[in-house]
């Protein structure tokens, strides 16, 4: 494919901006447009549940790039205008304000939105946390709160619980797993995380299925469980996962199934690509279709998509990576940590809460976890997850 005369990126968050940056870094000098539905300049989401929610950072500090850096990008940044439809054959996106934007390559980077509970809309005291505005609204509410129930024990739920506890609020963390983040961390580290939350006064309720909300006079009063019990609350954060933002693509003809379905090049159709949380692509290393909702994937996939737009024709098969900071724990995960993996602590020790471990399945390393050992985790990642794979490709 020849170099496109114009590239349109739909979505102005981490993945969208990173795609534009990677195109420029790789030498693309053509027209570049980035369309975003929010009025804000691109900002980072990981600080929202931590530094921004805690009030340690002004919102501006979460901006991905300075005004100067955005200027240097030499892209047309159209903010506060959502995409409403895509004509795949013509590669034309229509926006809510009635713009028709056409380009040789279109990149879908519209992300995900939080799942909500029935009856949640319009109820006071119930929050989700996805956008900068969500974080600021939740912060205001928490400052006057008595008791927060976090419904959902994944990464976001656990981070919100930790941050809210730091603000002095009484916190209940309720979810279906036996320990917070069990799906991401496996039994060993999620157990440690549960301990840590307990020590800091978070009331962790494992094995609890949330059914809905209890309310009176238009305000939330608690979270209803499938057992019929109600967890009393004056603030509730719903952190039950997210849904890809693909509604606007419904009539486009693209295959939509838990995200925009792509080939191994992250291409959904000729000249149409997807990147970030919304993209579900064929991952050669992990086998099958994969969708990753993490910050690292946004930049790594953006670089791969930019290269493919410029003609590289390379499969994208990253080692997944995410991190979380909760209380005094800084946890890094590279690869995957299956529940039945054999865990080998190779540096530090669990008792001192500073260790790095390699996770193996069928005699092969599949993941690395660092608990307050980020550098060691990165080195282990190279040694166990990257180099053996490169050797396998060479041979």
């Amino acid at each position: 494919m020849s170099t496109p005369a114009g590239v349109l990126v739909v979505g102005a968050s981490a993945a969208g901006l990173a795609t534009a940056e990677a195109l420029r870094r790789k030498g693309y000098r053509g027209a570049l447009t980035v369309l975003g539905d929010e009025p804000h300049v691109p900002y980072d989401r990981p600080p929202l549940s931590k530094q921004v929610l805690a009030g340690q950072w002004e919102p501006e500090r979460a901006h991905v790039r300075s005004g100067d850096a955005l200027e240097r990008l030499d892209a047309r940044l159209l903010l506060g205008d959502a995409a409403v439809s895509l004509d795949v054959a013509a590669r034309t996106v229509r926006s809510a304000s009635g713009r028709d934007l056409t380009a040789d390559a279109v990149v879908v980077a519209t992300g995900v939105r939080p799942r909500v509970l029935p009856g949640q809309a319009g109820l006071r005291g119930v929050h989700v946390l996805r956008s900068l505005d969500d974080a600021l609204a939740l912060r205001v509410r928490l400052l006057g709160a008595r008791r927060l129930v976090v419904a959902g024990d994944g990464v976001l739920g656990a981070e919100v619980a930790a941050t809210a506890r730091g603000l002095g609020v009484e916190v209940v963390l309720a979810g279906p797993q036996s320990a917070p983040m069990e799906a991401q961390l496996g039994p060993l580290a999620s157990g440690l995380l549960a301990e840590l939350h307990g020590e800091h006064g978070v009331d962790v309720r494992p094995g609890v299925a949330v059914e809905g909300l209890a309310s009176a006079d238009g305000r939330v009063t608690g979270v209803r469980l499938t057992t019929g019990d109600v967890l009393d609350a004056d603030v509730v954060v719903v952190a039950l996962g997210a849904v890809p933002n693909t509604d606007w693509l419904e009539n486009s003809g693209l295959m939509l199934e838990n995200g925009v379905v792509c080939d191994s090049r992250c291409s959904a159709a000729d000249g149409i690509y997807a990147v970030g949380d919304v993209a579900r692509w064929q991952h050669h290393g992990l086998g099958g279709l994969v969708r990753l909702e993490n910050r690292t994937n946004a930049t790594e996939q953006a670089a791969a998509v930019a290269a493919n737009i410029l003609g590289a024709d390379l499969p994208y098969a990253p080692v997944p990576h995410f991190w979380t900071d909760q209380f005094a724990a800084r946890v890094q995960v590279h690869g995957v940590l299956p529940a039945d993996a054999q865990v080998d602590v190779v540096e530090g020790d669990i008792a001192s809460r500073r260790f790095a471990a390699v996770y193996e399945r069928d005699g092969r390393a599949v993941g690395v976890l660092g608990w307050n050992m980020p550098k060691q985790a990165r080195l282990l990642r190279q040694r166990h997850l990257v180099e053996p794979r490169a050797a396998a490709v060479d041979s």
């Binding site: 910050r295 670089a303 980020p374 550098k375 990165r378």
Partner: protein, 66 residues
Amino acid sequence: MKITVDEEKCCGAGSCVLAAPEVFDQRDEDGVVVLLDAEPAEGLHAAVREAADVCPAAAIALSEQA
């Protein structure tokens, strides 16, 4: 080119070290980025730009004085 890093933003992923090991390292104790060379030679600029772009915490800022 002049590099600045925001240690408080750094998440310890180490992507910068993989992209430009001559310019970035990580502290052993907490994984926070260590800037080895704030004004790297021109031959390293492309790698540094990549390091700044791929940092998942946007902790690396570049100012491009000629």
